[in-house]
């Protein structure tokens, strides 16, 4: 019953830079917070705002969108589109009472495993300080862990 709060962060990582950064962080055996669940997308520009809203609704405490640095997008400017949506979505989420720290965008190239790891560490601590989001009361991720594990 007395579990300390461990934030759940859903991370949308782009195939060409940030997912490889996470891969590098792994192969380099960097130690960082295990709170981010990585989902690989082809481009940060692929992240439909609906994905973010669904993640929050289904129990995420935070959502990280990670992509290539501006100017380095594999699809020229998918990440710029992602940034525009992110800025607007962040202001929208605040009207719903979702703090801005809960949605973050990170640029990490394929060689920047440390930058990604640091961003995950920093975001985990920021969300730990905010506490759980728990969008659907009585339906915490911890409670759902067994059913998710079966899948």
């Amino acid at each position: 019953m007395n579990n300390p709060f461990e934030p759940v962060i859903v991370g949308f990582l782009c195939n060409w830079c940030s997912y490889r950064a996470a891969d590098l962080a792994g192969t380099a055996r960097l130690k960082y917070a295990p709170n981010m669940r990585a989902i690989r997308v082809m481009c940060s520009g692929r992240v439909d705002p609906q994905f973010v809203l669904k993640a929050f609704r289904e129990g995420a405490d935070g959502v990280m969108i990670a992509g290539c640095h501006p100017g380095a997008c594999h699809y020229v400017e998918g990440n710029i589109k992602a940034l525009k949506r992110f800025v607007l979505l962040r202001s929208l989420l605040q009207q719903w009472g979702i703090e801005k720290e809960r949605l973050q965008i990170v640029w990490a190239s394929a060689s920047e495993g440390t930058i990604l790891a640091e961003a995950v560490n920093r975001m985990t601590e920021e969300i730990r300080a905010l506490g759980p989001l728990q969008w659907q009361p009585g339906r915490t991720v911890a409670q759902r862990e067994p059913e998710l594990a079966e899948v």
């Binding site: 809203l53 929050f56 949506r85 800025v87 607007l88 929208l92 915490t140």
Partner: protein, 346 residues
Amino acid sequence: MEHKEKPKLAMYWASSCGGCEISVLNIGEHILTVDQVFDLVFFPCIADFKVSDVANYPDGYIDLCLFNGAIRNSENEETARLLRQKSKVMVAFGSCAYEGCIPALSNLTSKQATLATVYDDNPSLDNPEHIRPLEEAEVPEGMLDLPEFYDRVKTLDQVVPVDYTIPGCPPEPEQIWAILQVVVAAFTEGAPLPPPGAILGAGDRALCDECPLAREEKAVSRFYRPFEIDPEPGKCLLDQGIVCMGPATRNGCKALCPRVGMGCRGCYGPMEGVEDQGAKMLSAIASTIDVGDPADLDEEELERKIEEVVATLPDPAGTFYRFSMGHSLLRGARPEPEAVTEGGGS
């Protein structure tokens, strides 16, 4: 004397403005045909029936029930359940019943805040004793009761199963008449009804598809509210920085608003396969933001410039979810902390 019994028609308003009824009456002289073909059995706007009359009908007695209005209080919900029980075909009629519409915007705030605005904090109010309606009040004549005001506005399909949906705020009269003709043919000649769950009286594409305004490449460096700009005729409103929900809205109204220089407000709801209209609109509108050549800016400058453009869009939640809050992914603002503790967490 033997004659075939007429199909029974009911129309009810829950939390709504009455515009849906006006729209039905706006089908013009066809209303006489409706009267010829149907027996009205419940229609508080135009005929005197009581809820007790409905309660006395056998189950399934009503052939077609057009239900408009959102579910704001316990009376709305009880009537919705009663009508569902008594009706063969239940239609969510209009944006409120379909997706919450304007009433569901109050899901962005709490019940307490809504009541405070209505009964206390308003310049036109004179309520020094802070009188609020009570669910139950003892008076010399006995106990009086009022319906319970809910924390959240719900849509009709969140309360009872719905057979068909007719979007729009209000639905367009021509579309209503077209649907009534289909229904009449089904009831009188045995023609097939549309597949269950269908959205009737609307298209399956974006509103832009039937909008006559000319579109070019979109690059918006600031957004305008309707009173801030005189739109250039014939030119796409979104191109001019006027928020127009066309790209994220189902067609069917023939782009009435954009034709007269007013951005689409999104009342026909999301297109086929889209769960969250506001999120789709957010995507579309964010992509139009122009910050010049991103290569000229460093990462912080870029974000700051985008923020400047976004700041010209006040109230994004109220704009993108003006009609669809009740059906949106998050349904409304984060519940009040006390509501969370009730659910067993903090």
